[in-house]
Every structure is written in C-alpha cells, then in structure tokens.
C-alpha cells in the first residue's frame, strides 16, 4: 500500500518512557498519515504526548513499537528531510543573523555557494536581508521567529515541525506571524505539523486538526477544515462563518477543566 503523495506515515506507534519511578505510556497504537503539502495541527491536553510525537517524527527518539515512515522510508535517527522549529526562537546570541541561518548547513556540512545563495534568497524574500549582520538581540520577537523559520528552511527540509512555535510571542505579533509563516510554508511547498495549545491558531492555519486524548495519546478526532473565505490567510479564516463551529466542537472535545 504505497501511496505516492504520502509524506509521513505512522503505523501503530507506541512510545513508553522509563524512569526509576516507573513506566509512562506516552503514545499507544498511534497511526497517522500526512500527505505531501498538507498543513496539520495537533491539539490535546497538556502533557498528552504532543512533543513525543514530534520527537518521534524528527528521529530524536526511537518508538517502543510500530513504524514511522517518511516518504515511504523508515526513520532511523534525524534526517535532513525534517526541519524543527522550537518554541522560543533559540537563536544563538553569539552568532549574527547570517551565522544563525547557516547553522544547519554548517552542521550538515552542506555549506557551498548554492546553499548559501538559497539562504541569502530566503533572507531577501522575507525582508531580513538588511539584518544579515545584526545580532539576535537587535531584532524584535517576530523577526527573530522569522529568522528561526529561515534557519529551518535553509537546509531545505520537506517537513516542518512547529513545536508551539508561536506561543512565546505576544498576541498581535502572533497573529501576524501566523499569516506570514503560513504564507512562507505554502510558497515553499512544505508539509507542516504544528503542535499548539491554541484552538483558534490550529483552525486558522491548517488543513486538518487532530485532537489527541489524554495520556497515553491516541487520536480522539480529526477535523478536516473547510472554511468559506475569499482570501485564504489565517487572519481572514478567523472571520469565516464555519470557524466558530469548529472552535466549539474542538473546545468540547478537549474538555478543559481548570
């Protein structure tokens, strides 16, 4: 059953963590298929194993059982197919913007004229070329996060993992950056997986929203997002008539108690 346009496939993946205090089941018989170019969001209760999911796809940890395939190939350790975008930008303060952007290329020994030109083009395309030799502390939070995205894109991964990538930003910056990042990801034709706490963000950004259960995480429901709006940007999508309906449904499913 090989589907050509399948980017990520998780088959019956379980993940247990061991510590002297005992064993924790983080994921149980988890199966998920993500198509090429799809933008999916994963929401779920805190500590339900969302990060585990990303770590597994990134190849940072090995599942206790089951298989993870990227482009029909088994994942054994980190690959350059997957790019990871952390919660806070994690720019290195001692490197200037350019040196931060080429960090991944440096690590993968891929620093050559071609990749440098691509990284430079990304900086130029997304309005950061004037800050090439600035240091991270000279940039605003939103700009820093954009640099972080370009750092991830510079190694040209097929899949982007966004780990609460917007949650450290203030609300206005966050909305603006939602728009920008979505636009960049669509333009660069990347597959994206966004882990978030924010239901509104998940609906406004993605093609599908996956709701997880409490630990051990399994899929509670999948929502294919179909919104009627003329301009398809996260900000405009929040104005679509169906938006509220999706919000209420997912809110109820998450069953949040304080």
């Amino acid at each position: 059953m090989v589907r050509a346009n399948l980017m990520v496939e998780m088959r019956n993946v379980s993940m247990n963590y061991h510590s002297p205090e005992g064993e924790i089941e983080a994921l149980k018989n988890f199966s998920l298929a993500i198509e090429d170019g799809e933008f999916i969001s994963i929401v779920g209760p805190s500590g339900c194993g969302k990060s585990t999911l990303l770590n597994l796809i990134a190849g940072l940890i090995v599942p206790s059982s089951g298989e993870i395939l990227i482009k029909n190939k088994n994942v054994h350790g980190p690959t350059s197919m997957v790019g990871y975008m952390p919660q806070r930008d994690q720019l290195f303060e001692w490197r200037n913007i350019w040196k931060n952007v080429i960090l991944g290329l440096e690590v993968q020994n891929k620093l050559n004229e071609e990749t440098k030109a691509y990284a430079e083009k990304l900086l130029d395309d997304y309005g950061l070329i004037d800050f090439k030799y600035s240091y991270p502390y000279q940039l605003s939070g939103g700009m820093r996060q954009r640099v972080a995205l370009i750092r991830t894109l510079a190694v040209n991964p097929a899949i982007l993992l966004l780990d609460e990538a917007f949650s450290a930003l203030d609300y206005q910056t966050r909305l603006l950056l939602n728009d920008e990042v979505k636009q960049i990801i669509t333009k660069e034709k990347k597959t994206a997986i966004l882990v978030t706490h924010d239901i509104a963000e998940s609906i406004s950004m993605s093609d599908r929203v996956i709701v997880l259960t409490k630990r051990p995480a399994t899929i509670k429901s999948v929502h294919k997002i179909n919104l009627t709006c003329e301009i398809d940007t996260p900000l405009k999508r929040r104005e679509a008539p169906e938006y509220r309906q999706y919000f209420n449904t997912i809110w109820k499913e998450l069953d949040v108690h304080v």
């Binding site: 990134a58 952390p86 290195f92």
Partner: protein
C-alpha cells in the same frame, strides 16, 4: 534618536546630569581623602609614638623600603616570580578544569563515578596538600604553581560543568534535529554558550591562585612576594612585610583589571 535628545536637552535634565556628576565627584574625593587620612594618621601616630613603628611600621619607612628594594633590583625579581606563578596557576587551572568539565559532560558514566571524589576534593582545604606537593615536586616554583592550580581546579570543574548542564535543552535539540554529532553540539552550542561561565571561573581563579601562590611561597621560602613577607616577619622587619603586602595588593588589583579587560574582548568576539 539620542542625538535629537542631546540637542533639545531640557533644563530639568541638565540639572539632573549636573547633580549626578557632582555626586560622583563627592564619592571620588571622599575615597582619596580616606586614603590620605589613614596614611597621615598612621605616620603621625608612629612619629609621636602612639603606636610602636617597630611593630606597625609607618608609611614613610614603607616608601623607603620600596625605594631601597628598587635600587637593589630585587623588587622586580620577586614581583616577576610571584606574578608568573599566579598567571600560570590560574590559566592552567582554568584550562585544565574546563577540559575535565568537557570530559564529564561527554561521559555521564565518568561524571557519575567521579562525583563523590569531586565532592570530597572540593571540601578539602587544598593548602593542606602543600607539604605533599613539595615532597613530590621539589622545593621550588613548580610546587607553588601546582598549589595554585590545585586550589582553583576543583572549583573550575564544578562551576564549568554546571554551566554546561544549564545550556538550554531546546538549543541542543535544535542541533540534534540537524543531525549534529556530539562533538558538533560541544563546539557549536555548549562551549560558546558557556563562555560567560568560563570567564567567571577565570575571575574566581585569579583570586584563588593568589592564595595558592602566597601560601606556596610561605612554605617554599625561596623567592617571590610571599617569601619577602614571611622572611620579613621572621626577622621582624615589618617595613618589608608592609611594603610587600602593598605591592601584592596592587599587583592583584592590576591583574583583576586585566582579566576584566580580557572578558570584554572575549565576549565581543566569541
């Protein structure tokens, strides 16, 4: 923007700046006055025999002693030896300590095995090892340097290692997703983000190294400012002791300033 502010500086702000400046002057003048008062009182008290200058020495005698030492040419020899021992001590302590911290970071097993030993060595007053060092290494500068090194080594290992452990795990994770090897993680994130920790270890080590060197010179008693102090004490030449202590404090202050300057350079081009 700051230029604009300077052009249209308000009366109120001028007044504020003037007050700030006046306050700073007040502090500086009081500092100098305090020093002069102490010196004058000391000299006066010694001359009118409120205190016995044989025991307490006096500023004029100290200056005479320093000039005499300078004429004989011994002064710079002793300063040179002490400074050399201290510099070698704290630089080697910092480098060796950092290298060992890297080894501990690299291998969790080694770090777990050595943990109790480090705790005991850290608690032990290293000066107690002085006689052992002299017997093993010989009665000379190498033993003194070893003393200075030993005194700063364990503190450096523990400080730098804990600095390594405090590096943001998300930064490490980021590098791992790029497929970084352990060596790359060390080079690209652990070491550069620990530069401030290593520099602050260096600053602590300057002070510790002075302690190690002076105690070492007390024990070895061959040359250096520590030797002059202990010799002066034994023959009851308090002028010599005081002169050496003053030179020592100046040398220590200059070295500390030099390290601060080094820190500035390092932080700029790491």
């Amino acid at each position: 923007m700051s230029k604009k502010l300077n052009l249209s500086i308000s009366e109120e702000h001028q007044e504020y700046l003037r007050k700030q400046k006046a306050y700073q002057w007040k502090v500086t003048i009081t500092q100098i006055a305090l020093l002069i008062i102490i010196l004058v009182l000391w000299e006066f008290a010694a001359r009118v025999r409120w205190i016995d200058p044989f025991i307490t020495s006096q500023p004029s005698k100290i200056v005479e002693t320093i000039i005499a030492l300078h004429r004989e040419g011994y002064l710079y020899y002793h300063i040179g030896i002490t400074v050399m021992e201290t510099v070698v001590g704290f630089i080697s302590g910092t480098i060796l300590g950092t290298v060992i911290a890297v080894i501990l970071w690299w291998s969790d097993f080694i770090s777990r095995v050595l943990d109790p030993y480090l705790v005991v060595l850290n608690a032990l007053p290293k000066i107690a090892l002085g006689p052992i060092l002299i017997v093993w290494i010989g009665n000379g500068a190498p033993a003194i340097i070893a003393m200075a090194l030993l005194i700063s080594l364990v503190v450096t290992i523990l400080g730098v290692y804990s600095g390594f452990s405090q590096v943001d795990s998300d930064k490490i994770k980021l590098l791992q997703t790029f497929g970084a090897t352990k060596l790359q993680i060390l080079q690209k994130v652990i070491l550069p983000s620990s530069v401030p920790t290593i520099i602050s270890a260096l600053k602590i080590n300057v002070g510790l190294s002075w302690v190690g060197v002076i105690v070492g010179e007390f024990l070895v008693s061959k040359a250096g400012l520590g030797y002059l102090i202990v010799y002066g004490g034994q023959v009851f030449k308090l002028d010599l002791v005081m002169a050496s202590v003053i030179i020592l404090s100046l040398a220590a202050a200059i070295m500390y300033k030099a390290v601060l300057y080094l820190e500035e350079i390092f932080m700029r081009c790491r």
